[in-house]
């Protein structure tokens, strides 16, 4: 489904490696089954020829890796960023989390990434090969007699169904055509939750959050979570816990995290993508984004470097808390 090809990315990277612009490439490494790609560092064009892939399963957002990888690498790091990833990139720069001079961004267009769980709902388990053919994903399995052809649009990841932008807000080189910010229906589900009674909404979240196994994947994948030591990992913080002692504590973990990233979350959707328990964590963050838009005017974290989030900025036009509570009642 992707319009840009693996070969185009390898060519671009090989050129930048050859002329010394970059020393290393952060890209996608091939897995066992076609869909299980791993973020991988490549040092040479040959390494890329052998192990680099680009397909409909390259969903991982690379921006956060720049925080750790730029600290230790010699030379510049080439990173491939999809439009949504560039918002996280800018937000991290706004927060001075890595040195821009150590990174070379190749912006790549994205037609939306596939969710392997949705593919398997159609194809069944036992995938023996998976490939893209135009707008279709062709899957062969151990159990189906013929290859299963799936319309790629029907198996898009949730965050890609609600893609907010095809436009890169940061890059050094752009491959393919630049897109635009798109009108998405990403707040529809939030609106549905808002229209519930408080009891219904509480029951919804209690059910979802009770599935949490506290693996911290949401936090560890989140580009907005880059504290050196998270309070929940720090025995001196007084709130450190590896496991909730009850369901109330579990809910607090996610709600505290949502508050902490409020105004900084770009809605990249990594939290929900990585959750092994399929908890729709992005909806907590989207509620904050929707509220910020409502109370302070439209604001997109990461749209530009250095912008001040309404929550950390003060203007005399700001709503008073009492007005917010009135607004809440209207919107809740």
């Amino acid at each position: 489904m992707q319009k840009i090809t693996r070969e185009q990315l390898i060519d671009q990277a090989s050129e930048l490696l050859a002329n010394g612009t970059v020393s290393t490439v952060l890209g996608w490494g091939a897995g066992e089954f076609g869909y299980d790609v791993t973020p991988t560092l490549f040092k040479t064009a040959e390494e890329m020829q052998n192990g680099f892939v680009f397909n409909d399963f390259c969903g991982a957002n690379f921006s956060k890796y720049l925080v750790s990888k730029t600290k230790t690498l010699e030379g510049k790091l080439l990173v491939f960023l999809k439009p949504c990833d560039t918002y996280s990139f800018n937000q991290l720069l706004t927060e001075h989390r890595f040195d821009r001079e150590k990174v070379y961004v190749v912006g790549i267009p994205c037609e939306g990434m596939a969710d392997i769980a949705k593919v398997k709902e159609i194809s069944g388990e036992g995938i023996s090969s998976i490939a893209s053919d135009g707008d279709r994903i062709v899957v062969t399995t151990l159990y189906a007699d013929a290859p299963v052809k799936i319309d790629a649009r029907n198996v898009l990841a949730e965050r890609c169904i609600h893609c907010k932008s095809k436009k890169h807000v940061a890059y050094d080189t752009l491959l393919g055509e630049e897109g635009d910010v798109v009108a998405s229906a990403r707040f529809d589900e939030v609106t549905r939750l808002e229209s519930m009674t408080p009891d219904e909404r509480f029951a919804f979240w209690q059910n979802e959050l009770s599935k949490c196994i506290r693996c911290n994947a949401c936090r560890d994948a989140c580009p907005a979570c880059t504290c050196e030591t998270c309070v929940f990992d720090n025995p001196k913080s007084g709130v450190e816990n590896k496991s909730p002692s009850n369901s109330f504590e579990e809910q607090m973990f996610h709600i505290i995290r949502a508050f902490h990233v409020a105004g900084r979350c770009t809605d990249c959707g990594e939290c929900a993508r990585v959750c092994p328990q399929n908890i729709p964590l992005h909806l907590l963050n989207r509620k904050f984004i929707k509220d910020i838009n409502t109370f302070y005017g439209e604001y997109q974290a990461g749209a530009e470097v250095g912008s001040r989030s309404p929550l950390t900025d003060y203007t005399t036009e700001d709503l008073e808390p009492s007005e917010i509570f009135v607004g809440r009642n209207e919107h809740a």
Binding site: G31, E32, F33, D36, V37, T38, P39, T40, L41, A60, Y65, A117, E121, G124, E125, G126, I127, S128, L142, Y143, K211, I213, R214, C215, N216, A217, R219, D220, A221, T229, D233, N234, P235, E240, N241, K242, S243, P244, S245, E270, R273, V274, P276, Q277, N278
Partner: protein, 342 residues
Amino acid sequence: MLKCSLDNVQTLFAEIAKEAKLYLPIDNADGTAVFGEWSRGVAWSNALNTAKSPKDFFFPQTEDLMRFRTEGKKIEVIDVRRESDDFVVFGVRACDVKSFDVLDRVFLSEPCDSFYAEKRAHGIIVSLACTRPAETCFCGIFGIHAAEPAGDVSAWKTEDALYLRANTEKGTALVARLSSVLEECSDDAVNAQKESIAKIMNKLPLKDLSTEAFGGGKTQDLFHSPAWDALSSACLGCGTCTFVCPTCQCYDIKDFNTGNGVIRYRCWDSCMYSEFTKMAHGNNRLTQKERFRQRFMHKLVYYPENNDGLFGCVGCGRCLAKCPISMNIVKVMKQIGGNKGE
């Protein structure tokens, strides 16, 4: 061999549940399956694997160990141990059944863990053969047979019937009290299914993954492998692999201050976490590479070294499916073990 028509399976469940709580895989609204308690009308999931393994039944994610109540300078120690009632875990896959062996060797060795032992003694495992293994399945390389699941009772499900065979005293006692819903039958249907499963096992993409490079005594060969750097490079340090793993058994013991006392509890811990086994001198594994290496060396070298060659992985494939960056024990075995498995 005993047989129950699938039309009758809810009656079978009702009979089991008369004398023991019955847990089985149930479909969640989000497409995953979880072990939950059966009650009338609850449907048995067809899912291959539950999202979380059944180790929770014996080694729950959090578990109170004891309580202290303080009053002035007086401290009262409260024993919170409870006797467990019998319970049945139904539909456990061959890999997960084998994981109980791995856990037993940790918790039932001296000094025996009484919390685990109590639940293990009262749990009755009814296993289930896998007719449609996934591409992520590799139990076979550890000598586990998807068509011959162990457990107190082994079960095979065909299109129209459920076949049961008791393997242990507990299992024999269970099927004895289910005689009203079970009938004697020949082994033919089960044998046919075993053959067809064997054919599928032979087609699984990971069937040739070799364990040759691993096992006891391999520490020096593998510990300093240069491949650990690249393998661990993208690891997020989350605990997904450890918490979905049926054999990971590390835990932390913590005190929760209640205001007038302490609840001492244990909870699952992950060697992937930066504060894992932190002690007075600090941490003994300072980088993610060291933590990552520990997890795989434990499963593939240290555990077999201390347990007669038994590997600490059962090939259930959960970590392959759930790791946010798709790094897993199979990729490690291929790289570190120098085998491509092809």
